[in-house]
Amino acid sequence: MEGINFTENRSLVALLAAILPLFSFVFILSSKKGGGASVALSTITLSFLLSMYLFLQIWNLEPEHKQISWFIIGNVQFYAGVLLNNLSVLMMVLVTGISVLVHIYSREYMKNDPNIHRYWAYLGLFCFSMLGLVISDSLLLIYLFWELVGFSSYLLIGFWFSKHTASQAAKKAFIMNRIGDLGFLTGIMIIYTKFQTLDLHSLFGEGGLISTSTFESNFWISGSQQMPAIWLSIAGFAFFLGAMAKSAQFPLHTWLPDAMEGPTSVSSLIHAATMVAAGVFLIARIYPVFDPLVLDVMVWIGAFTAFMAATIALTQNDIKRILAYSTISQLGFMVMALGIGAYSESIFHLTTHAFFKCLLFLAAGSVIHQLHHYCVRNSHDFDYQDIRLMGGLRKRMPIAFWGMCIASAALVGLPLTSGFLSKDSILISAFEWAAAREGIFIVLPWLMVLTSWLTAFYIFRLIFKVFFSESREIKTDKMMQISDSPGQMTYVLLILSFFCTFIVFSVNPATFEASWLWKGFQVTSIKEISIFHWLAPLILNLGAFALILITYSIYVPGREPKLMQDTWLYRISNREWFFNEIYNFVLIRSIEKLSLLTYGFDRIIIDGIVNRMAALTQTISVISDWFDRKIIDGLVNSTGSLSRYIGRFFRNFQSGRLQHYLTTMLLVVLSFFILSYLI
């Protein structure tokens, strides 16, 4: 990195863009309470401008890769650096762009919160880690930022930590993500063992180590290194596990709906548009590592997640929960698309999804915000996130309504929206993939079509319940008090609505092949079958329109329909397929039992052994003490006292008196004579 030439050193620019939010985090936390909005907003805006600059510099041009030596372990040199290619600059613009909008939105939405400065600081930390994640060039660095992203998400979910559910949700999200992190770490270790490097470019780049490694009779060979072929699959599964936890794929999806306990703006930025896409991003970034087996698993997990989340979203009543399940469902689409090899389609959907899901959340947040204010003003207490209690807001909040409509249309994939392009591209790829594979695989595209139809149902159920008919809680005369949210929030909705239209991504609203974004990642792996290119969107849209009409007829007349409420299907959906209960029963209970067992083992066996040892030692000590005192000391002392007694006895003879001496002599002589006489 010699010479600070601004146009040359694009990696420095990227670094600066990532560091700015960190600066905001540190600055706001160290400054006084209550402020921070302007610092956070200005740094993220600057970051966005830098990202835009990089995007223009690098998109479809030469990728940038700069690294410096980081540290050395043994003989292995580790590098840290910046890798900028189409994928990372796109993600940078996406993350910073949506962050800017959410920052603007939050200024109004989070106004009057007593801990607002923490909010801004955490947002800064999140943006820093997310940007770091997308520009890092080494698996180790990505892992670091991966953890940081999880941590800042934890902080923001638990932002209102005084609320019990919020702190529980934060912990749940963190722990679920730890499971994925374990997978990620395992994958890193396998890759490191195999290649002795964690550098993305040399591993996954053109002609990199992964693509040049070969298979020979069940051995995975690269250079002189070889290990059983199964390790490649294991590494793939391990990385996929990490992505599954972050992108809320079955069976690790249950944290995302609970994460809605955080502020709505956070849900919008982190748990809909950017962070959850990190899993998809990771899969895309290390795509060559996945072998066909892992890809197949990815397909089915993604498809199942998409379907399951859509069925759950059908019957939820919390506005944010519906959107959360819709997010999981769309993430399932992306993962499935990656699994079938539709790389560019998946990234395309990731991008469009980020905008329309962000808009959905912010519009929902706008509704929640206004209803909350209504509650506070009229001291009228009801659950202002429950769509059963809402209604009739169409006239009162037109901008939120239209924003939501456009975003929903994009989510469903109706024509003229961005979702039409990206979602249909995924479906078409799925049909083509199934046609190439034949057999049971034909189920997959139809499952995805069904999921899309369900999407149409649940999202328009939400819209009709919230914006049409009458509210159950708010009297008609009081409805006049409710209006669209204040300026800044509404402008953000308008901007995002614009980004949900086809015009941003393609000049031609009918085919995704015309999209610049899709072309940017194009890989031709699946044989094109042209019939699907008009059939799939047609099937999808006809079904979706029909379902929207049905939904309209069910929900708009205003009576609460008792639609299959007593059937087991409804119950499964409403209780979210009982995943929380199953996890609680199978995992948490068994872990508790195991803990009790190990606790008992600890207490009885380990503590028992320790205590017995202690008692034994004590007894031995007492014995040795006694032995010391009585025997050893006794011997010494008795020797001493014996000589003392002997000395005392003989002293008596040394009286110094002549006559005593003489008496003694007489006695000695006499006893000598007596003895000699006797013997």
Binding site: R657, L658, Q659, Y661, L662, T663
Partner: protein, 101 residues
């Protein structure tokens, strides 16, 4: 003719009296007298045994020597007693115990 055993018994009696005096008297002069008793018991034995040496009279000769020696010894002992008296202001032998230690 007086048998030898009578001499011996007298001599033993004299010796014992002398010994008793030496061991028990509280006066150095009396102790000295006891010593004289014991010497004379020996001298009596010399004279009695002189019966077996009638020609050269060795027993008598030794008796004379012993008497002379005893006299010399008494002279020395009396001198010591005088000095003891000067030093201790007493001639009780039980008081002169500086011999110990």
């Amino acid at each position: 003719m007086i048998p030898l055993s009578h001499f011996m018994l007298i001599s033993a009696g004299l010796f014992c009296i002398g010994l008793f005096a030496v061991l028990t008297r509280r006066n150095a002069i009396q102790v000295l007298i006891g010593i004289e008793f014991m010497i004379n018991a020996a001298v009596l034995n010399f004279v009695a045994f002189g019966k077996y040496d009638k020609i050269s009279g060795g027993g008598q000769m030794f008796a004379l020597f012993a008497i002379v020696l005893a006299a010399a010894g008494v002279a020395v002992a009396l001198a010591i007693i005088l000095n003891v008296y000067k030093y201790f202001k007493s001639i009780d032998p039980s008081k002169t115990n500086t011999l110990k230690d």
